[in-house]
């Protein structure tokens, strides 16, 4: 099976140069995305079969590439199989979507060669079994995605996004490089050797923190998230979907692989660090999302929120594992992985929806949209499913993973550590806040862009997108429902991963009556998405048919009532920023230092009144701006070295030589 996986990756890599030739042909994008579709489908099925194989074999292979004395090691175990499923399911959906969407690309030569290479790189990251291949693939993944972020390079905003992305990606890789360097000091680069080694607790802790920084910067953990909302929206929409839905998950994989697999038993305080980063990431991410007007940027910030939820789950798993409560650790870990899967589904779906809207109207600004449910009914339906799912509402899948995370939080009074006893309820509160704010955020996103009346001509003349894109979105929406009503099957599929990573599994779910999920015991908690769905569907249809038959089914259309003051001007509707104004007033005055300045004209003057809202990104101001200032200052000083005479350079070289000789001599 690993041979199939590696050959598929090779095909993807071979497709990259083919993309250059194909980009010059009129139907080239269809051929390329079609080929990617086939390859990712193969990879997805292969990985799924491996994950569901009851024997859970661990396969490995070595190729004679890479470092001459090392070779490239690859390994397919339960964890990589699960992430292969996530990557290739996302890749499959993105390729299907791009079959239609990619045809509208105005400069395909800037996307087509990089797309298969990007998919290949993500696959290699999760297959790699030595630090060298891992880091090369990781960096390759960053670079190929960077190329697609700047594919629309004529917009200054995208170029800036690409610049920030490149800087942050290098920073993250540096952290991972240091982490592997520390591990390699005793064991070398091969993951198998690292697993067998026993690094000291201090070294392991340093590696864990570096892994959190390195993987966290790629995943978008606050405060390393600054690049993500710039870069993800800048790429073409199917690539945005891959970056948000899938690449952040590859980052989660990197963290899990290093901290849960390569390192020995966790130290108890690691979980505190992870929880203290994860909880605030969830809440801050969604608060940022609420303040945005750009539809794709809302989605990018919401990715940060979901990454926060995932890392909270992982932090809980670490806490329980460190205390030996591995059955609870299995619950928290499974919740985190299930959220990885769920988020890949609905975030890809939502980015595709945003892409369809962008293609139909040419705008990403929600304040120019509105009423798209009439003109793009199928897209609107699929996006609605995505919005409900991401808001963690039953019976869809987002609820299941959050519910499991809450169940793990409820078990945490069993932990002996006082720090955790104080932090975990607070983190639970932050997650609850994030869930409620996410619902507000997606009411806003959907209500402003798809409901109401069109706010511009482009929105009024929008058209439904092509059938491939619709098929991709509807398929993802169906999967969201499936994972929501039959969560037991998905939880059972994750059992081998949790077994290898935290040493225990959640109770087997599939055999339970009516496919209920029972994380610990029935007397504690249980949830049955299928019955909730059927029950609600029955109640709704029963009410509808009863009322239609017994009371009235007549209906007539009339102008909107609006308390007697209807106004034909669509500007009278709530806009994206006015919708979030109450929340901005409640939370924003502290978190964003938001200030509203109202300017009223003099009485009897004909000037319009003005309201100015000023918001600042405090994290940027406090962390990034000072670093940028220091670097700017230092480079300006060093810059003087560029304009010296040849004599000065010779003197400098001589001085450097003397200093070096002195260092060697001493």
């Amino acid at each position: 099976m690993i041979a199939v996986a590696l050959w598929s990756v090779a095909v993807l890599l071979a497709l990259a140069p083919a993309g250059i030739a194909l980009s010059m042909r009129p139907r080239g994008s269809v051929v390329l995305y079609g080929a990617c579709l086939v390859v990712t489908a193969t990879l997805c099925v292969t990985a799924l079969l491996h994950l569901l194989d009851p024997a859970h074999p661990v396969l490995s292979a070595t190729l004679p590439v890479g470092l001459p004395w090392l070779g490239a090691h690859f390994r397919l175990d339960a964890l990589s199989a699960f992430f292969l499923v996530v990557i290739n399911l996302g890749g499959l959906a993105a390729s299907l979507f791009a079959l239609g969407y990619g045809r509208h690309e105005d400069s395909p030569g800037r996307v087509l060669p990089f797309y298969p290479a990007y998919l290949a790189a993500m696959n290699v990251v999760v297959l790699a079994n030595d630090a060298f291949s891992f880091l090369v693939a990781w960096e390759f993944m960053s670079l190929t995605s960077w190329a697609m972020v700047v594919s629309h390079h004529r917009e200054a905003e995208n170029v800036r996004a690409g610049y920030v992305y490149l800087l942050m990606a290098s920073f993250g890789t540096l952290a991972l490089l240091l982490a592997f360097g520390l591990l390699a000091s005793s064991a070398g680069y091969d993951f198998d050797a690292i697993r067998a080694s026993h690094p000291s607790a201090a070294l392991a802790s340093m590696v864990a923190i570096l892994a959190l920084v390195g993987a966290g910067s790629k995943a978008g953990l606050v405060p390393l998230h600054a690049w993500l909302p710039l870069a993800h929206p800048a790429a073409p929409s199917h690539v945005s979907g891959l970056m948000s839905g899938v690449m952040t998950k590859v980052a989660v994989y990197g963290f899990v692989r290093i901290v849960f697999d390569l390192l020995p038993e966790p130290v108890w305080w690691w979980s505190i660090v992870v929880l203290l980063v994860g909880g605030p990431t969830a809440t801050l991410g969604v608060l940022y999302a609420l303040m945005q007007r750009d539809i794709k940027r809302v989605l990018a910030y919401s990715t940060i929120e979901n990454i926060g939820i995932i890392f909270t789950g992982l932090g809980l798993a670490l806490a329980f594992k460190a205390q030996g409560l591995d059955w609870v650790a299995a619950l928290a870990f499974t919740a985190a992985l299930l959220h990885v899967f769920n988020h890949a589904l609905f975030k890809s779906l939502l980015f595709f929806g945003a892409g369809a809207v962008l293609e139909a109207t040419g705008v990403r600004d929600m304040e120019k949209l509105g009423g798209l449910i009439h003109r793009m009914p199928k897209t609107a339906f699929a996006v609605l499913v995505g919005c409900v799912a991401i808001s963690a509402l039953p019976p869809f899948n987002g609820f299941v993973s959050e519910w499991l995370t809450f169940q793990a939080i409820l078990l945490s009074p069993q932990l002996p550590s006082w720090g955790l006893k104080l932090i975990i309820p607070a983190v639970g509160g932050l997650l609850a806040l994030a869930a409620a704010l996410a619902a507000a955020c997606f009411v806003k996103l959907y209500g402003i862009s798809f409901l109401g009346r069109p706010r511009s001509d482009v929105a009024a003349s929008a058209h439904e997108t092509d059938r491939f894109s619709i098929a991709a979105m509807l398929a993802l929406a169906a999967l969201c429902l499936l994972a929501g009503v039959l969560p037991g099957l998905f939880i059972d599929a994750l059992a081998p991963v949790s077994k290898t990573m935290v040493g225990n599994i959640m109770p087997h779910q599939a055999g339970l009556q009516w496919l209920t999920i029972v994380p610990i015991a029935e007397s504690r908690s249980s949830y049955n998405g299928l019955l909730v769905f059927l029950f609600a569907a029955f109640c709704g249809t029963a009410a509808a048919s009863a009322i239609h038959r017994l009371a009235s089914d007549r209906l007539r259309r009339a102008p909107a009532w609006d308390c007697g003051y209807p106004d034909a001007n669509p500007a009278i509707q709530y806009s994206a920023s006015s919708f979030s104004q109450p929340i901005r007033r409640v939370f924003g005055s502290v978190i964003f230092a938001a200030r509203e300045i109202g300017e009223m004209p003099e009485p009897l003057a004909a000037a319009p009144a003005k309201l100015t809202v000023a918001m600042r990104d405090l994290i940027w101001d406090a962390l990034y701006a000072p670093i940028a200032t220091v670097i700017g200052f230092v480079t300006e000083r060093i810059n003087l070295l560029q304009f010296l005479t040849i004599r000065s350079y010779l003197t400098l070289v001589f001085a450097a030589l003397i200093v070096l000789l002195l260092v060697v001599a001493l």
């Binding site: 509160g429 009411v443 504690r524 049955n528 709704g540 009339a558 909107a560």
Partner: protein, 318 residues
């Protein structure tokens, strides 16, 4: 035989909540009117309103989409399912294991999500103001509710309502500080979630402070009837929830005799009457708050709930 009995008891519960919900609203309105020395509408007026609305034509705004027409049914279904999972006269409901307390709250969350969308569908300023304020209130009330649930669940060792109610009825509970805090928090959340004074005024219509009414302004006929019925069900749900967690005496157990079930039902009516009366007294004795005072009001609930949970984490017995 037991299966039949279980299905019957679940069916009775579903019918009961549906029948009782308008009565509770009518009762609260009547008491409020009497407290203001008015005669007030008859107790059965909400039923008449519902029937009258159901028989009327639906007048749909020109711009309304299919979603606008589906949402009343979605809201009703979500609220009804949630309400039929909260124990009323007896524990051990057949379907109580389908959704625990967290899922019940999330079901209500789904109903609210759709209601807020409905407010924005026609594209009027009033709908937008209602939805925008509703999500602001919900963004504070929902976490407060969830954390309250955490503290109660940690005391009872379960999020399953039947087990929680059974535990609360047993002697193992005793008097706890955290339960008191959770009770206050839950009451505040219940007031906010049901659009009661001081958060929203269920009796206003044309006022800029209205939240719930603004969202449903464009609804008419059977759609409006369903939405009204949903909010009545929601009120009943919260009152039953408070009753079953904090006043659990007399709730019949899963295998109780018919006599016990009947006495449980009578006690339940009594609890509803007491809580409804208290709600009316509270509503008449307090003024409505400005919109931006609501976050502070709900912040109290959030803090109390968090304190209750922390107390529970830190000390096993308080």
């Amino acid at each position: 035989m037991t299966a039949f009995r279980d299905i019957l008891s679940q069916g009775v519960q579903m019918g009961l909540v549906l029948l009782l919900a308008p009565l509770l609203t009518g009762f609260v309105r009547k008491v409020k009117a009497r407290l203001l020395r008015r005669r007030g509408p008859p107790l059965l007026q909400p039923y008449r309103d519902l029937i009258r609305l159901m028989r009327k034509d639906v007048v749909l705004a020109d711009n309304a989409s299919w979603l606008f027409r589906v949402i009343p049914y979605l809201m009703f279904a979500g609220t009804w399912v949630a309400a039929s999972l909260v124990p009323t006269f007896g524990n051990g409901l057949l379907f109580s294991w389908t959704a625990d307390l967290i899922a019940i709250i999330a079901l209500l969350g789904s109903a609210r999500f759709f209601q807020a969308l409905a407010g924005m569908d026609v594209g009027t300023a009033f709908g937008g103001i209602g939805s925008s304020r509703e999500v602001m209130i919900a963004s504070l009330a929902e976490p407060a509710m969830l954390i309250t649930v955490f503290s109660v669940a940690m005391i009872a060792g379960s999020t399953q309502l039947s087990y929680v109610a059974e535990f609360m009825g047993s002697d193992a509970v005793g008097l706890r500080v955290s339960l008191g805090m959770a009770f206050v928090a839950l009451t505040i959340v219940a007031l906010a979630e049901n659009a009661r004074i001081p958060v929203d005024n269920p009796a206003t219509h044309l006022e800029l402070t209205m939240v719930h009414e603004a969202m449903v302004l464009e609804y008419s006929g059977r759609h409006l009837a369903l939405i009204d019925l949903s909010s009545q069900l929601k009120l009943l749900l919260y009152v039953s929830l408070i009753a079953c967690v904090f006043l659990p005496w007399g709730t019949a157990t899963a295998d109780a005799s018919v006599a016990r079930l009947v006495s449980g039902a009578l006690l339940y009516f009594g609890k509803l009457a007491v809580l409804g009366f208290l709600l009316a007294v509270f509503e008449t004795s307090i003024a409505k708050m400005r919109v931006f005072r609501i976050p502070e009001f709900l912040g109290v609930a959030l803090m109390l709930a968090l304190l209750a949970t922390l107390l529970r984490f830190v000390s096993g017995s308080l």
